[in-house]
Symmetry: D2
Subunit: 439 residues, 4 copies
């Protein structure tokens, strides 16, 4: 892939996360020499895009790197001949997310951005837009890699893989964060560890930990029970029960709390909402408003520390690591979202999974599992994956039956009468964003 030009397009370039990404591109410029960076956004995001664009330009200027920056409201211009297209869109913006969180709560369900009924609504809105972007990539940059951060990242990756020809990889900052936490727990460089993470996006398990070549999984499970696991900013930090973790035989991810501690998580969520009238989306809005105020300051020419509060730690790290490993054919191991193809034999071949991959210039190659997954992991993985398959059918075809089954099947809903009521609210309140259901 080595060439004189290296063009990156960022769809949803006006996102508050963009400075993270720009910072990473600058930091790794020597090994990943981006020459053109296009930030594209939609009309409604024009003002944000302007602010982000100006900050990004100041950051580039300060760095002295030879990166030419463009901002545009024409995503096709951004995509044309790009080598990488990063997608980080939010269809309906934070207002839609706020609804995604509140509708479930009004039905006594967990209201979460990426999982359960909230994540389902987000998927319905997002998939058609993402597939539209894919059409543009197929036409204008057929050799580009699409790097998708848009949530629900696993579902999006699967929809792209099933309904387009674009080469895409789904990315989440959770695995890289987990690996860093484990290295910290052992007080060693991450390079000395080999950590097996397996599952699907936002529902993965750490099944093996190897330190300097010695399998320390048993020891790790013991330490874990006593130490706990910190969560991303957006997930309440409930502590795992040591005995329970031991019985899983693997470290759940932060999002597992919504499943394994359903009741308490719902309780915390409801309490906060009743006390403040706000959900996480509303808080994020405030954080974002502050961030954009900061971003406007002409003297700012680096990523501000406050960005961490936003929940996107390691985000640029994950993104730039992936792109530079593809670019340089590095062959290192990263945990990303790819088409299954037998890597997890208890799931269909054509679904997306999150798994350790060797990153080569032609993309990620999944590493096979050493042992079959135990029933406690297999069962949960399979039922949530079935939910995801149904959600994709619903989103692509505007199919009510698939939508109703998806919600009924999801462990955070699980009752057809509630599913029906929630679905009615979701379809009504998102009508503007769901043309596929208006037929």
């Amino acid at each position: 892939m080595k060439k004189s030009h290296l063009k990156i397009a960022v769809i949803g370039g006006g996102s508050s996360y963009t400075p993270e990404l720009v910072e990473g591109l600058i930091r790794y410029h020597e090994v990943f020499p981006v020459t053109e960076l296009y930030l594209a956004d939609i009309e409604q995001g024009a003002e944000k895009l302007r602010i982000i664009g100006e900050l990004a330009q100041r950051m580039i200027n300060a760095s002295g790197k030879l990166i030419t920056l463009y901002t545009t409201l024409d995503r096709r211009e951004a995509i044309r001949d790009a080598d990488f297209v990063a997608t980080q869109i939010r269809v309906g913006m934070l207002d839609a997310r706020s609804r995604d969180e509140k509708i479930p709560l009004s039905h006594q369900l967990i209201g979460q951005e990426t999982t359960g009924a909230g994540g389902f609504a987000k998927a319905l809105r997002t998939i058609p837009v993402i597939l539209g972007i894919c059409r543009d990539i197929e036409e204008l940059a057929p050799n580009a890699f699409m790097i998708n951060f848009t949530n629900p990242a696993g579902i999006i990756t699967e929809a792209v893989s099933k309904y387009s020809k674009v080469k895409s990889v789904g990315l989440c900052n959770l695995p890289i964060g987990t690996k860093m936490q484990i290295a910290e727990l052992y007080g060693v460089e991450q390079t000395r560890m080999f950590i097996e993470i397996v599952g699907i996006n936002h529902l993965n398990w750490t099944t093996r930990v190897v330190l300097d070549g010695d399998d320390v999984t048993e020891d790790f499970m013991t330490r874990l029970g006593s130490i706990g696991q910190s969560s991303p900013a957006n997930i309440p930090d409930l502590e795992w029960d040591a005995e329970f973790i031991h019985s899983v035989g693997a470290l759940p991810c932060a999002y597992h709390r919504y499943y394994y501690m359903k009741e308490e998580m719902y309780g915390e969520m409801l309490e906060y909402y009743q006390a403040t009238g706000k959900t996480r989306a509303d808080d994020v809005k405030e954080v974002e408003a502050e961030l954009f105020e900061l971003y406007k300051q002409p003297e700012l020419h680096e990523k501000p520390a406050q960005l961490e509060k936003r929940g996107g730690a390691y985000y640029s790290e994950a993104a730039v690591q992936l792109m530079k490993s593809i670019y340089n054919d590095t062959g290192d191991i990263q945990t990303v979202n790819v088409r299954n193809q037998g890597a997890i034999p208890c799931l269909p071949d054509d679904v997306s999974i999150e798994i350790n991959c060797v990153i080569k210039s032609d993309g990620p190659h999944a590493l096979g599992l050493v042992k079959p997954l135990p029933p406690q992991i297999r069962g949960l993985l399979q039922v949530v994956k079935s939910y995801e398959e149904l959600t994709i059918e619903a989103a692509v075809k505007g199919d009510y039956a698939s939508a109703l089954q998806a919600l009924t099947l999801h462990p955070l809903v699980g009752d057809e009468r509630i599913a029906k009521a929630v679905l009615a609210d979701i379809l009504e309140q998102n009508a503007d964003f769901l043309p596929q259901f208006q037929r």
Copy 2:
């Protein structure tokens, strides 16, 4: 298998269901000429066994059939050289069942005899006893077929298949009942219909209905929505939503109500319990007391009509049909519980499934599916099956970790903190029946 002697052993012969079975053996005696019938029970059931034995003898006398009846408290005597061993035991009797229903209720969970936390407790108690019976069969009647009605029948079948060499088939009256209801709906003889039922015990779906060779599944789904489905006596008769049923694309079984209408089912259950202080087990105790009063009457020499209230309609039909088809190498199709062996490809090979089988003299042969199962069926099936696999491990090995994971994974529990609390109660209140956990 044709031979002059045909010996049947009934383990749990003192059950109130036994007259059903005796009636069936009499009715079909011409084609299934039982010569010896052993009813075996344990010490605590001696009195019931005596009553049942006397009634059975009066029934046989009245029929004029040449069946020699024995009652015994020594199950090995009953098993020795038997051709069929029917198992219909209830470890801990109705008092244990009553606890199985009340413990979950006290944790705001559905308390049901065969599924959820209640069915789980029953499995823990029952599996070791059933495997003990298997040891006896392996020694004393290695060629016998074990016909198991003991619930949870699917889990028991799987435990037997994984941990013994006994040829066993699991049987439930639900499929035969479903088929009869559908034939009634169409107002035709059942022989004119071919009905595909697939899944696992108490969680099967009717996926195809063929009348006189025409696939009428679509039509059937439409009628269903408008007509509803009646339940066995033990399951509240909540009506299915037509739109929901249509979205499943198949007819759920009666037990699916505990999943798909979890909230309402729980509500009904709780209301009844709060109003009466009783659960289903308590009602059954009363029904049984009445039944045994009836059974004692010396002038009674047939199965009394009141037995239907007990919930076991078609029970003798299913049992005798199966045994006589094996005996006669009939090759007809019946829906029974067998080892999967690839018949449902999305489940492991070594688990039990409930599926249409051709019954030959060497046992049931599963019929392959015409189409892969859709995600809405697949996902629920897989997660409940994983629960069952874990439950068997817990029951056989007395393994706490598997037990905790089984309950956490079950859709009717689904929260580790609740699972842990329920499990503590189950282990404590069943301590007398769970030697495997006392190590």
Copy 3:
């Protein structure tokens, strides 16, 4: 399917086998009341069709059955609204078969009608014509069952299943013959036996034999070694080695001799050819000429005994049994060729297999295997099936690369240089029948 009209179309109605079929239709008319029988053939077969038509009419007249007979050169007329379409065509007629047998011989290879390079050539010629018939059925009789006897029957069934929407079943008289021989060996009615046959067409194994419900496979394997197995008229009757048969652990089919006794079979074939200048096709031509002379005799009004020499014993039995079981939704077990769908897990889902099926009104339902196939069966099955998949690709797409790989992979060829030379001859000598390769 019960209806007042029952129309059968026979494509290739001028075949010398047709009197077999007509005889069967008459014999079973009470339970399979055909009202219209269409015999269709092509221009070149007009004379034969006339002779067969007249004989068939005399047979029907003699029987007194109410079957209206039509002969036609317009296959679409025959197909329109048919309930069953039987296909028994021979593209290129016996002259082509003669070439199929001689080309391989000239390369020191076995020259056989349905397997090896000969069967390959036949498949290339036949698949496009069969798919043309399928187009007509899709248009004119979309609910009809196609019953295919045309060889290579397994490959044809798979091609139809992959490249058309027609409901089709592939049929061969080998399994029914095997079952009859085994029943004879035991001196019992066939109904007392259950015989498991599994594999692909002309490469199946009898893996289990059950008599009166007792598994007598071991005993059967012993008897077999000592007794031998008779072959259809068209296959030299070489004797199996008892020790070898025992090591297979199953009874091979007659065609297995071409694989397991390759050298001797080739030797016999070559010797006969060198001595007489003839191959089997040439003999069949003579037999057919005699048969048609017989058929012409106005006093003949039944199937003549000489037909047996032709190699089609049990042919009408197999055909009419299948159609009448579909018609009557019988649910009996027959061995037919169907899409795999997981029934043989070591083969792809979308290939054809030959296996025991329960015949219902919606077609055959494969019976699952009780045990996985051992490596000695699995390996041969897989390699020949791969050959078949490649052959279908070659035939449908006119793809030279697939053709060359198919022949190279086949155990009766197995050398790319020989494959290339044979392929060149096949393509040249069949050029008139292979428009797909002329592009």
Copy 4:
């Protein structure tokens, strides 16, 4: 695994290949700091071991590396506490190999050391000895990695994986040679290429070639046809047909010639044998005699150039690369033999395969395939793998039936009568080495 001591045991240390290995250990000593090197051999190899030991000591002395060398006739001493156990034994020595080559020739079959009837005989002799070594490793060095070069390396790896607990990796110099040849073809450093090799030992295909991140497989296939592929010293250098290679869609390995060009290979072999009375084993004996003469020269203190003629090019490269990547947890990609575990879905999970793996300190992790294998590769792979499974059963259990089926199934035999005759000769002529068949 980092530790002050690093002990390597070489079983079969008296092999003429050992100087290769010693040279590699010296060359990479900085990153793979062996402290103790044990060369073990059997009584009959004592003289050779002495010569090799003295040469190895001179090489180490000349290098100045701190490696302590031991020679021993007690393999348990060598194995005790070893970190790596390399196995390179030859049961029956070159005389047995000579017989392995001549017996098949006498039946008009290809006589080859590692495949066909010759490789089969070698497997029968070798597996019991290797499993004995495994018993010692299990007892004396349970954490050691066994690196097996002993042929047939794939079969040996599978036997070890099925019948012992030893962590083992099978290694062959063919893949590394293929990669080097391809890099040469493109005139680039090997690090710029990613080459997908998949299959089983001595029957692998190069299915994808990536240069600087661009998939150049198409281009590669074209070049190949025109350029040809050179073979290891031991395989005649017959040229591939360009059209044929194109139709495979992948580059076969050198050993494929025995399959794809069976006739010509046999012809060459026979001609050479008839002209000289010798097979490859006899030539090797001469080469070895010369080599050992060279090795004895006291002034020799490096690997002599003549060793290349022996056929083991890249051997030390492959071996030391693998051990040092495990030792250093390198995570680079190497093509080795491992248990399948779903990596090649069309083969059983428990068989050995040869595939690209990421080498970590806990061993190799197979990389998933990007596309399913096409039928032409799948079919050949499956049939040869089935042969291997049967061979292992035969070797471990001394089972005649499996042995006969293995040979009958092998594409280089393929006829039961020939198989039986060859098997009789093999069992007779190897009787001293096959105690498992003497029961």
